[in-house]
């Protein structure tokens, strides 16, 4: 098993009801697996489906990009940004 830290921001934070969580995944799991798990664990996130991206260790992932996860990775749910 591997553990990753998942952070929620803005609308995703409100929907999840928390800033962050730790998720345990099978070794070799990818961001796609994590996505499925997050929707199971936080069905409220459905509101944002298709309207957020992940970042992995402070770099954006593409909408359809799949990356293998390793222990200690930091993933964030990034809804549309609005800085400035």
């Amino acid at each position: 098993m591997l553990e990753v830290r998942v952070l929620f921001f803005a609308r995703s934070r409100e929907l999840a009801g928390t800033n962050e969580t730790t998720v345990s995944l099978e070794d070799g799991s990818s961001t796609k697996t994590l996505l499925l798990l997050l929707f199971q664990q936080y069905p409220q996130l459905e509101e944002l489906r298709g309207n957020f991206v992940f970042s992995l260790n402070h770099e954006y992932l593409g909408t359809d990009e799949e990356q293998q996860l390793k222990a200690g990775d930091e993933v964030a749910v990034i809804p549309p940004i609005s800085g400035g």
């Binding site: 921001f9 803005a10 609308r11 909408t63 964030a76 549309p80 940004i81 800085g83 400035g84």
Partner: protein
């Protein structure tokens, strides 16, 4: 939810995410340089209305370490695109009242055109790439804003991604057709 800030300095570039009020003059002074003939600056402030509704305040939230990293990338890219002497970008988090600054950019260059263009490009790039969010609190409600610059960049990235995926799919299909032919014949 008060988030402590972070400041990064790399060569001629300075990037900061801070919960404190922003002072434009601090960043203009930061980019002062004897080789500069111009300093351009941009200050983004909270406006009192949006589409006819009275805005009370904005609440900013940042993914602090990634936001600082992305602000630094904006600086570095601007410095590689234009002849910049020094550059500073700062973004505030937390409550920003009407008339207060949420973002300050300052750029110095030998000649004005570089500073002006780098400054203009940097605010657009910041709005497209730096993980910071604002909630607008107006009379009778609140809403998470979404930057048009982010939407456009995401749409372009998806198009590129799917273009590549479609092209790869085509290659795979051709390969399959090619390898299937001998068996079929």
């Amino acid at each position: 939810m008060e988030q402590p800030g972070v400041a990064l300095q790399e060569g001629a570039c300075y990037a900061e995410v801070t919960p404190d009020a922003l002072d434009q003059s601090k960043y203009v002074e930061l980019v002062a340089d004897p080789g500069a003939g111009a300093i351009a600056s941009f200050v983004g402030v909270t406006r009192n209305s949006f589409q006819g509704k009275a805005t009370e305040r904005l609440e900013y939230e940042a993914y602090i370490p990634m936001a600082a990293k992305k602000l630094m990338e904006v600086c570095r890219q601007a410095c590689s695109k234009w002849q910049v002497r020094r550059m500073a970008v700062a973004h505030r988090t937390g409550t920003v009242l009407v008339g207060e600054a949420s973002v300050v950019i300052a750029v110095s260059s030998a000649h004005r055109r570089d500073a002006l263009e780098a400054c203009h490009w940097a605010i657009d790039e910041l709005k497209a790439t730096v993980p910071i969010w604002k909630k607008e609190i107006f009379q009778g409600g609140e809403v998470w804003k979404e930057n048009e610059e982010w939407r456009q960049q995401q749409a372009a990235a998806r198009l590129a991604e799917r273009g590549t995926a479609a092209a790869e799919g085509e290659v795979a299909a051709q390969h399959f057709a090619g390898s299937a032919q001998p068996g079929a014949g």
